[in-house]
Symmetry: C2
Subunit: 414 residues, 2 copies
């Protein structure tokens, strides 16, 4: 019988991977569980959707990453519940007992109960949905090329992105450029003035947590890339053919990409613990589950407030820092020491808008335009896992940049 303490980590996203790494030398046995056999580099998922990168370039099989970490076993499976009293996780058909648990199950798209949108919209939550979005976008062009009716062609070439946060901004900007710089060459006979890329925001500004100056810079940069930005615009329904707004007006559009909300993964509903907003679990300042000090929750699924009483945003940087604290607290527990509370250190903000354009706030300074964009490119290549991936992505991006090209304009079918 194995006498090492057993630590179960659920989720191989940013939080789970960081926790697993930080516990590499701890005198424990780790089981890392995920529904997929790979870690997804989500910040670049929109690049798959706009045919800029292939899935393999942002998805990293987990096993090779931990090949040298002797205390870790990976299991591909779905965790369907947790018994905090008896200390085991339930998987499809089996149970796994733990001494310590770190839940890093992440988030999912929040459709705010709008069912028709959930059914007909495209989303960027995982590889499959991003590939579906890519296939759909390219197919709209192929159909438009054969469509003689001007109205139908207009709807085929109207692309709506909902949500004015960084994901919506990045997607709308990159999509507009894909169309104007790359697809324009593939469809020489098509009239590009027929194409509309709209970014709809329910509030009155883009990029909620960015300072005013950068919000304005974002608006200007997007505008220059021919994205039609509309504020105070709330979508009520979508049936795949036309968007219905809250005020009742209609916009014929065959494409709607929903990036307007994230909430915690489904598992949190089944844990039987107190949830705060967006399905996130209210945890102690130490990231422990109330009443169950051996269990921790980190990342999108955890509700933690900052100094000002505001919930921390659902970002990769938050998940990674929380995972470090949780891992440290597990180590402390093994040594009989008290856990430490989590303190978030904001590393800044960074979002790209397309070629040569990004906005960044780092070290208290705001940057926009080309310099911010260089920082974005360098940082994202650095954050990728593995030298070969960095090399291949660098080659792909350099090629696309200098040749106004894109490698992955494939329409694949199911």
């Amino acid at each position: 019988m194995n006498t090492l303490p057993h630590v179960v980590i659920v989720g191989a996203g940013f939080g789970g991977m960081e926790a697993a790494r930080r516990l590499a030398r701890a005198p424990i046995r780790i089981t890392l569980i995920d529904r997929r056999n790979y870690h997804l580099f989500q910040p670049l998922l929109y690049q798959v959707a706009i045919a800029g990168l292939a899935p393999a370039q942002i998805a990293y099989p987990v096993r090779p990453i931990f090949r040298r970490q002797k205390n870790l076993t990976f299991v591909m499976g779905e965790v369907t519940g947790v018994d905090f009293e008896k200390r085991y996780v339930k998987m499809d058909g089996s149970f796994l007992a733990y001494d310590h648990l770190i839940l890093a199950v992440g988030g999912r798209t929040n459709f705010f109960g709008l069912q028709s949108i959930e059914q007909h919209a495209l989303q960027l939550k995982n590889i499959e949905s991003a590939v579906e979005a890519r296939n759909h976008l390219l197919e709209m062009f192929e159909l438009a090329a054969r469509e003689p009716d001007a109205e139908k062609r207009g709807a085929l070439l109207t692309f709506v992105v909902v949500g004015g946060g960084p994901t919506g901004v990045e997607t709308a900007g990159a999509l507009s450029e894909l169309i104007r710089l790359v697809l324009a060459k593939d469809y020489p006979r098509m009239n590009l003035t027929d194409v509309r890329v709209l970014l709809l925001e329910a509030g009155d500004h883009l990029m909620g947590n960015y300072p005013d100056g950068l919000r304005k810079a974002t608006f200007d940069l997007l505008h220059r890339k021919h994205v039609d930005i509309q504020f105070n615009t709330a979508v009520a329904e979508y049936d795949g053919q036309a968007v219905t707004f809250k005020d009742g007006t209609l916009l014929p559009a065959r494409t709607l990409i929903w990036t307007a909300g994230v909430k915690a993964a489904e598992l949190t509903d089944r844990l039987g613990v107190e949830l705060a907003g967006l399905g996130r679990v209210r945890v102690e300042s130490t990231l422990q589950v109330a009443g169950h000090p051996e269990a921790f929750i980190v990342g999108d699924a955890a509700y933690v407030e900052n100094g000002g009483g505001q919930p921390l945003p659902m970002l990769a940087t938050v998940a990674v820092q929380q995972a470090r604290t949780a891992a440290e607290n597990v180590r402390s527990a093994l040594k009989g020491r008290a856990p430490q509370p989590f303190h978030y250190r904001d590393p800044g903000l960074l979002a790209t808008i397309g070629r040569n354009a990004a906005v960044a706030r780092l070290g208290g300074l705001s940057f926009s335009g080309f310099i911010a964009w260089m920082i974005w490119v360098a940082l994202h290549i650095y954050r990728l896992i593995g030298f070969r991936n960095r090399l291949v992505v660098l080659i792909n991006w350099a090629w696309d940049y200098f040749f106004y090209d894109s490698q992955v304009r494939l329409i694949t079918k199911e």
Copy 2:
């Protein structure tokens, strides 16, 4: 009204692409039609199935390839029939009239009427089926890692490839190496002696059209890579759990990859013309359809005999040479000259068996082993389309070769 003659080419495989290129400077209007928006480099499809390459590395969007060819328009659509009398092709919902037609619709898997196999087997016919095969293979390992029952684990780790031609040989060899050299590192606790890779051939030798010496070399090379080769073995049924042989015996196996036959694409059944074996259309020696001199058929869908009265094999080299002749004959027709009969010039044979191993017959000489393998690698990188693809594939293969690694071990879901 456009007075240039209209040439319609159906299919963007090897035949269709070559015909389109050869007619680049002809005073005509070309419409190239395919169900997909990309040209698939089929010889390397098995590499996608064994997680060696990503789909994007062997699939080339058609539009950019013909960007500079002013006389060509690409249309993505499915041709459902042809009216040779009235000279038009029927597409989903529309008709396209032609002055000349080149059908290069290719082939599909031949299951010889074995329905249970058609339903449960994996095949390598297009990107989707190759990705499905890859997901399935990797999933078998993930399930085996969690399977306590030795019998069930045995079935999960038994991989059957049916068909002893080049495709079956290449697939079985590469699969065995993926398992022994790469996956072995991902599953350190798994006992690899549980794994079986079988290659089943109904006849009594591998590689039908290769000379005796190379058949023997193939057998030896495969054997050294731990592939279990069985001759005179005919599969009768497959239900996803076990293989049933013609003699009634059973082999529990959760994976069966069928590479045992090719026949012409479905469209040939609907053309109302005389078919020869495997659904191929019997064409004149000039590749023209009998009674309809403006229509040509090339590639897998065409039945043409060589000097000895044997049908030409269904190979890319045959399709490409036939496409050249068909294109030349269209040009001749435009000038009022007589068409020329097709003569196949066999460039030789070349098939890989895995790392460091291939068999080749070129210029009347037989090669096997490392030299043949180098020739295979160089030729395949050369035949890829586009400098960037060649660079990326070269990097991937070099990395895999030196580090016993594979880039694309992703399990994606639908």
